[in-house]
Symmetry: C2
Subunit: 319 residues, 2 copies
C-alpha cells in the first residue's frame, strides 16, 4: 500500500511513491521542456498511468494521488490557474487525472499549501498547529497553517505574501508582482543587481565578467560570499524586507514557527539570524519571542512531500 | 432566558442583557474613574451580581456571561493582561467573576475577538466566514475570523495589526507601539498634528486656538472637514497607511469583508472609498476585487455585542 505525490513546478514535474509512513520508495523528475497547455496535462497523466502500472506489477497498490500545482487549485471546479504554464488559466486538471487514475482518489492543491503540508508531515513543521512556510523563489508566497488547517480565505488565494506592502510610496514597478516580491524574490535580487551594475561604470567586483542581463540571484549570492559591494547592497536590502515580512506574519498570526524555503533559501539560509534581528525590531514583542525561524527541512522536495501528504490525508478522510 | 455581555474598556465598563435572539433588553455604562487593579475587578463583579438579582426579580434568568477585555485573555489560566488598566498584568478575572456568577458559565475574550464576534452576530459580518474587524482607536488591533473561528495563534495574541511594518527604515519611535499604530492610530493622528504645529510658526488654520499638547484626533478630523492644511496632511498620510494595511490583510487572508471600526471609524468612515483606492494599488489584484470594505454596524457597541455572543455560544457548546 502506498500513495503517489506529484509536484508540478514551473520547469519540471517531480513524482514520488511514498510508503504510508512517508518514506520515498521511488521517485522521478522530468523537465517540462517548453511544454504548454494540454502537453503538460498529458505529461502528468502519462507518468501517473505508468507509475500505477509499475506499482501494480510489483504487487503493490497506489491508494491515493496528491498533486501540487504552481498556482491556484479551484476546489469547486477542479480547474487550475498556473501563471507560469502557458494555457493554464483555467485548466481542467482534475478531470484529466481522474480519467487516468480510475478509482484512485485524486487531490489537488496549490504549491504553497503543499510546502507547509510537506513540512508538517516529514519536515520542520512536525507537531505544529500554527506555522508558516515562507517560500522565496522566483516569486514569493506562503503556506499558512492555522489550527492545523491550511488557510485558504474566501476564494482559495490566501497567502499571497509577495503582495505585502512594505515600502511607501507606491511605485508603478510593484504593479505586476507586489512590493515585497519586487524587492526580495529571486527575480527581484537579480533585477536589483542588474540595475545597480548598469549605473556603476567603475565597478570591478565579482560580477564584472557577467553579462548584466544574464545575472541570476544565484550569481548575486556567490558574489555576496566574497563581499562584493553590489551583492552586499542588494542582499542587505533583502534582509531588511525579509525581516519586515517575517515580523508582519508574526504580529498577525502569532505562529509557533516560520519556515524559510524556496530556491532562495537555499543560499539565504545563513542569513536567518540577521533576518530574525530585523524582525525583532518591527514585530509584536511578545509574539516574536514565541516564534522559531527555521530553514525548510525538505528543501526542493517540500512540494512533492506535501503532495504525498495530500494523498494520505484524503485516504484517512475517506475511510 | 437571557445572556449577559460585559465590555470592559480602558475608561468605562458597559453591560447589556441580551435576549437569545440578540436584542438588548437592558444596558448600562459606568465610567472607571481612575479605578485600578482589584477596584476594577470589584466594579465588574458588583455589577454582574446586581444584574443577576435584577433579572431574577423579573422572573427571568441570565444563562451565560461573556466578558470582553481590553487586552489578552489567557484561555488556560483565566487571567487577563490589560495594558491600560493599572495592575492588570496577570489579573485573575475568571476566578473572581466565577465566584460572583455561581453556576452561570463565564467566558472571557479579548476586545478584538469580541468586536468581530459582535459584528458576526448582529452586525456587518453576519453570514461571513472569513472576515476581519480592523479596530482603529487609541491603538490598533484586528479581530480575524478564519473559517468562522477567531484566529488566536499559538499563544492567543494573533491580530496585533498595529505592529505591521509598513515604512522603511525602522525608526526608534515605532518601538513601543509598532509602525502602523505609530502613524495611523487615534494617538498617532494627534501626535502627528502636534508635531507639525510645533514646526509651523506661521500657521493660522482651524487648530490655531488649541493648546497643541491637547489636540486630539477628534480635533484633527474636525479641522479636516474645513480642509485645514495640517489636518489634510496628517489624514492623507493616514489614508495611505490604512490602505497599505487593508491591502496586506487582503493579500494574506483573502477575506470576504474587512470591517473598519474603533473610535477613529467614527469620523474616518467617509474615507473608506479613498482607503480602498489606496489598497487597490498594493493588494493581490484578484483578492482585492473579492473583498468588501465596510464600516462597523455596531460602532461603540461591537464589544458588548461580542461579549453577548461569547455568552450565547458558550451555552450552545455546553448543551
Amino acid at each position: 500500500m502506498c500513495v503517489l505525490g506529484v509536484d508540478l513546478g514551473g520547469t519540471k514535474l517531480a513524482l514520488a511513491i511514498f510508503s504510508m509512513e512517508g518514506r520515498i520508495l521511488a521517485g522521478e523528475s522530468v523537465p517540462l521542456e517548453n511544454r504548454k497547455g494540454t502537453e503538460v496535462g498529458k505529461l502528468i497523466t502519462e507518468h501517473i498511468t505508468r507509475l500505477i502500472d509499475t506499482v501494480e506489477n510489483q504487487d503493490n497498490h497506489i491508494r491515493s494521488i496528491g498533486i501540487s500545482v504552481p498556482g491556484i487549485s479551484r476546489t469547486d471546479s477542479g480547474s487550475v490557474w498556473a501563471p507560469n504554464i502557458t494555457g493554464w488559466d483555467d485548466y481542467p486538471l482534475m478531470s484529466e487525472v481522474k480519467n487516468a487514475a480510475g478509482k484512485i482518489p485524486v487531490t489537488i492543491d496549490s504549491d504553497r499549501a503543499c510546502y507547509i503540508l510537506g513540512e508538517l508531515w516529514q519536515g520542520n513543521a512536525r507537531g505544529c498547529n500554527n506555522v508558516i512556510f515562507l517560500a522565496v523563489g522566483t516569486g514569493i508566497g506562503a503556506g499558512i497553517l492555522v489550527n492545523g488547517e491550511v488557510l485558504r480565505g474566501s476564494h482559495d488565494i490566501a497567502g499571497a505574501t509577495g503582495w505585502m506592502a512594505l515600502n511607501k510610496p507606491f511605485l508603478d514597478e510593484y504593479k505586476d508582482c507586489g512590493c515585497f516580491e519586487y524587492y526580495a524574490s529571486g527575480e527581484g535580487i537579480a533585477k536589483a543587481a542588474r540595475a545597480i551594475l548598469k549605473e556603476e561604470s567603475e565597478y570591478s567586483g565579482e560580477l564584472k565578467n557577467k553579462n548584466p542581463q544574464e545575472i541570476s540571484s544565484y550569481d548575486v549570492f556567490t558574489a555576496y560570499e566574497y563581499r562584493d559591494p553590489v551583492a552586499v547592497k542588494v542582499i542587505e536590502s533583502c534582509i531588511g524586507f525579509w525581516g519586515m515580512a517575517v515580523a508582519n506574519l508574526v504580529s498577525l498570526f502569532n505562529p509557533e514557527k516560520i519556515i524559510m524555503g524556496g530556491g532562495v533559501f537555499g543560499p539565504a539560509i545563513s542569513l536567518i539570524p540577521a533576518i530574525r534581528e530585523e524582525a525583532v525590531k518591527w514585530a509584536q514583542p511578545v509574539s516574536i519571542n514565541q516564534v522559531r525561524i527555521e530553514p525548510s527541512a525538505l528543501r526542493g522536495e517540500a512540494g512533492v512531500y506535501g503532495a504525498g501528504f495530500l494523498a494520505l490525508r484524503a485516504l484517512s478522510k475517506i475511510r
